[in-house]
């Protein structure tokens, strides 16, 4: 993706609840991939989930799922049954035939008791 926008700088959710993080993107490419990465305080970025644009089915990884709306260029992340360990920065990113991923500015998620 050429631009990636995350409009929620911070979010908070109670443990066991569900939270949705928003992401929009813009690209001129027809083949591209979208990602959500998690960055805990340790700084190491970890891949959470990946979506290929040509797939209509939304990707799911355990408690994490995406809502991919291709026409709207929207790619939100839903975290179900939130856990304290989910507290981190979450980055939306996109990549196509170019050699690099473009990242959003991130959403800081705080999971509270």
């Amino acid at each position: 993706a050429q631009t990636v926008t995350q409009s929620q700088p911070e979010m908070s959710v109670q443990e066991a609840e569900t939270v949705t993080l928003s992401c929009t993107y813009d690209t001129s490419e027809s083949n591209y991939y979208l990602f959500w990465y998690k960055q805990p305080p340790s700084r190491q970025m970890i891949l959470v989930i990946r979506q290929e644009a040509y797939k209509q089915q939304n990707a799911t990884e355990n408690r994490f799922s995406v809502n991919f709306q291709k026409a709207a260029k929207s790619f939100s992340l839903k975290i179900s049954d939130s856990q304290l360990g989910d507290t981190a920065m979450y980055f939306c990113a996109g990549g196509g035939t170019a050699s690099k991923l473009t990242f959003g500015t991130g959403t800081r998620l705080q999971v509270t008791l």
């Binding site: 190491q44 891949l47 991923l101 500015t105």
Partner: protein, 116 residues
């Protein structure tokens, strides 16, 4: 190694000094990336290596920044005559394949650079 290793973890330097940041990617990963993360910002792409060559260095902010990769493995990012605006976390990532083949990026823990 088991993961991407970066050194130093933290570096404090004086304005005008040169610094070198090192990245040791996962063994066998042909693609290597450098990103910069400034406070409150997303990740800013710096440079991409495929093997020892850098087909995309479009993100290097000035000619004070350079990077090399030798033996298809270790990479060094060099910042000459550091400025305060260079203060950031420099992240390295590697991938088994280039991104357009949907290779997942594996990140190191980053090198935090502080320029006084």
């Amino acid at each position: 190694g088991a993961g991407v290793s970066q050194s130093p973890s933290n570096k404090v330097t004086e304005k005008g000094k040169d610094v070198e940041l090192r990245c040791d990617p996962i063994s066998g990963h042909t693609a290597l990336y450098w990103y910069r993360q400034s406070l409150g910002q997303g990740l800013e792409f710096l440079i991409y290596f495929q093997g020892n060559s850098a087909p995309d260095k479009s993100g290097l902010p000035s000619d004070r920044f350079s990077a090399e990769r030798t033996g298809g493995s270790v990479s060094t990012l060099t910042i000459q005559r550091t400025q305060q605006e260079d203060s950031a976390v420099y992240l390295c990532a590697s991938s088994l394949r280039a991104l357009f083949n949907t290779g997942e990026l594996f990140f190191g823990e980053g090198s935090r650079l502080t320029v006084l």
